[in-house]
Structure formats: C-alpha cells, structure tokens
C-alpha cells in the first residue's frame, strides 16, 4: 500500500501571515480610494451637465467638514499608492541600459516619482491660474 499522503496546508488568512503580504494588501487597498475619488469627480461632472444650480449644490457639498476630512485621507492614500506603484515599476519593465550600464531600480523609481510630482505641480499651477 502507498503510504504517501501529501498534506496540503490551508491558505485561509494568507495575507496576515507575513508583513510583506500585509503591506501588499494595504497598498492594493489604496486603489479603492483612487476609485472613490474618480466617483466623486464623475459625480461633479454629472452635476455640471445639469446646470449651474446643480453644480453649486455639488460645490457646497464639498465644503462639509466630513468631505474635507475624506479628502485629506484620500490625499494620503493616493500619495502612498503613487509611491508603491513606482516602487514596483523596476520589476515590471525590461532593463533600461544607459551608456552600457543598467539603470538601477532606485533611479527608475526616483524618475517615476519626479515625473508624478512635476505633473501634479503643473496641474495645480494650471488650475490655480484658471481660478484667478
């Protein structure tokens, strides 16, 4: 008789078993904030299409302290989302060779973050200029 009886361990709660997986779930979870914020902006667009009165109702809603608190939380979540997104980027792309040398992971992550920061500053500047 075959005495082999391989034992398969359960995967229940796998993401709690290693700090690396916990961090993974947190940074994946920040995507929910990205989706929620896209929903808020989309809602604003719908209100805008319904005329000035509806648009002002939406603007007024944004001024509630709950909404401002949510915005602060979302800003933190999106900041972390951006950081982790660029942190994994070197693992997801073909090697970049500059002058015969392979670009280091941190150079790629750093460039990504710099571009994201520049894009954010440009967008802020544009909106600021339009609002004046």
């Amino acid at each position: 008789m075959n005495k082999r009886r391989p034992y398969v361990r359960s995967m229940d709660g796998w993401w709690r078993k290693n700090p690396f997986f916990v961090e993974y779930m947190i940074h994946e979870g920040t995507a929910l904030f990205v989706a929620a914020y896209a929903g808020i902006l989309l809602n604003g667009l719908v209100h805008l299409s319904q005329g000035e009165a509806a648009w002002n109702v939406w603007l007024l809603g944004l001024k509630s302290s709950w909404y401002i608190g949510f915005h602060v939380l979302t800003l933190i979540a999106l900041g972390y989302h951006t950081y982790t997104w660029f942190k994994i980027m070197p693992r997801t792309m073909p090697p970049v060779v500059v002058g015969g040398q392979r670009l280091s992971a941190w150079a790629i992550t750093g460039s990504g973050l710099a571009v994201a920061a520049a894009a954010m500053a440009a967008l802020l500047g544009l909106v600021w200029g339009m609002a004046r």
Partner: protein, 251 residues
C-alpha cells in the same frame, strides 16, 4: 559540552503520513555555536535527538537549492540562515509554504518538475546546424539579456513567497517563468513561439498580481517577478498586434 554552551530552541513542524492526521509542532533544544546555520541545527536534531526527522539538503553553500524551508515564516535557504541571528528567541522551521508536505520538512515538488519540463528549458535552435559550421557566437550584450535569469537553482523559495501560486497551484509560477524567459531572450534560441503559448495560457503570467515577494526572497538575485511582468507586456503586445499584422495560427 562546556558550561557556557549556548542552547537555542528549534520548533519544527512535523508530519508523518503513516501516523499523523495533520502536522504538529515539536520543540528541540539544540546546543549551537555562532558559525552554525539553521541547516546544521536541524542536522543536529537528526543526529542526536530524533533520527526520524526528514529534510532535504546537499551542498551547504547555497548552490544546490535543496534546503529551502520557512524559517520564522520566511522562505529561506537553511544553509545560509544562521542560528545566532535568532538567539535567544526560538526559531521556527516549517516545510516551504504553498506545497503539499510529503513528510516533515520535505515538500512534494512533482508539480514544479512538470512545469519545468513544460517550458522546454533548453535551446531550440533556429535552424539545424552541422558541427562543421562551428559554434554559436554571442556578444556580451546578448549574454546580458538572459544571464541573470540563468542563475536560478530551482530552490522554490519564490513559489513559497507567491500567494497566487498558493491559491492556484496550476499557475506556472516565478521560477519556471524566469527560466522560460531565459531561453526566449537567448539569441541562439528559436523556440519563443512555442513557449509563448504557455505564457498566454490560463496557467500563464496573468495569474501574477505583482506582489513582488518572489524576487525579495530569491537567494540568487534572479528577479523572477521581472521575468513574469516583462512577459505580461510581451503577451499583451502579441495579442493586440495580431490585429495589425495578422500572422495566422493564433490559438
């Protein structure tokens, strides 16, 4: 044994299929010196405390890839992990995660062997070549394309680090994909089209959600996550470009 001999507790997850319904923990007190690896600690248990303890090992110098275990929950080669780094706390050892346990610290790796075979881990020449035509020539740049991925020692730590493999064992997984990529980007090889069918399949690279832990635990700096994710791009490009340049034979 001298009076100042240090003793560390090693907790081992035991499983004997003949008598155990499920694995259970057993703690051993192991005298050790600062130069002893976890593997040597486990060998001490087998030699002096309990001869029935089963585990795989061979080279003791991180080349053979046999002695992978979960050490305090992290996939590690036990020959290059040292007891002194855990002392005075207890060190926990367990068979590699996500694989069936055959016995004690020995996993069943048949599934991986089948995957390894399926990727055709050898050069498939572009065209037949006679001995008279001489050797294949390759530039250092062409070598750089695949060299990192050829360092894989099949230790399976990356599979123990991959929750997607744990949830779906049919996923071809990090090491097999890294080796597949190693041959696909070799300038001497002509087997890419055959191997891409595996990359594009249900078992292929899109099971990966870029957790990235596989590359963190790799003792040979292969970066299997990079091989998997590069092939997602190649696979997606292959899928969409066929609308522009019909090649026929798409499955």
């Amino acid at each position: 044994m001298s009076d100042n001999q240090k003793v560390i507790e090693i907790e081992v997850l035991r499983y004997h299929p003949e008598k155990d319904k499920e694995p259970h923990k057993q703690v051993f007190e192991v005298p050790f010196t600062d130069d002893m690896s976890v593997l040597q600690g486990v060998q001490y248990i087998k030699d002096y405390l309990d001869g029935s303890l089963s585990f795989r090992w061979s080279c003791r110098m991180a080349i053979c890839g046999s002695c992978g275990m979960m050490i305090n929950g992290e996939p590690s080669l036990s020959c290059q992990t040292f007891l002194r780094d855990y002392y005075p706390a207890r060190v926990r050892v367990e068979a590699l995660s996500h694989f069936p346990i055959e016995r004690d610290l020995v996993i069943n790796m048949e599934g991986f062997m089948e995957k390894l075979e399926s990727i055709q881990p050898y050069i498939i020449p572009k065209e037949p070549r006679t001995l008279q035509e001489g050797e294949y020539l390759q530039t250092p740049e062409q070598l750089n394309e695949y060299e990192q991925f050829s360092s894989c020692i099949n230790c399976l730590l990356c599979y123990a680090a991959c929750p997607q493999f744990g949830l779906n064992s049919s996923f071809i997984g990090p090491a097999a994909t890294a080796l597949l990529h190693r041959y696909n980007v070799d300038s001497r090889d002509g087997g890419k089209a055959e191997r891409m069918e595996l990359i594009n399949s249900e078992e292929g690279v899109f099971n990966c959600t870029a957790v990235g832990y596989c590359s963190e635990v790799c003792p040979k700096h292969v970066d299997p996550a990079n091989a998997v994710n590069q092939n997602k791009t190649i696979s997606a490009a292959d899928y969409f470009l066929r609308f522009l340049t019909p090649k026929g034979g798409a499955k």
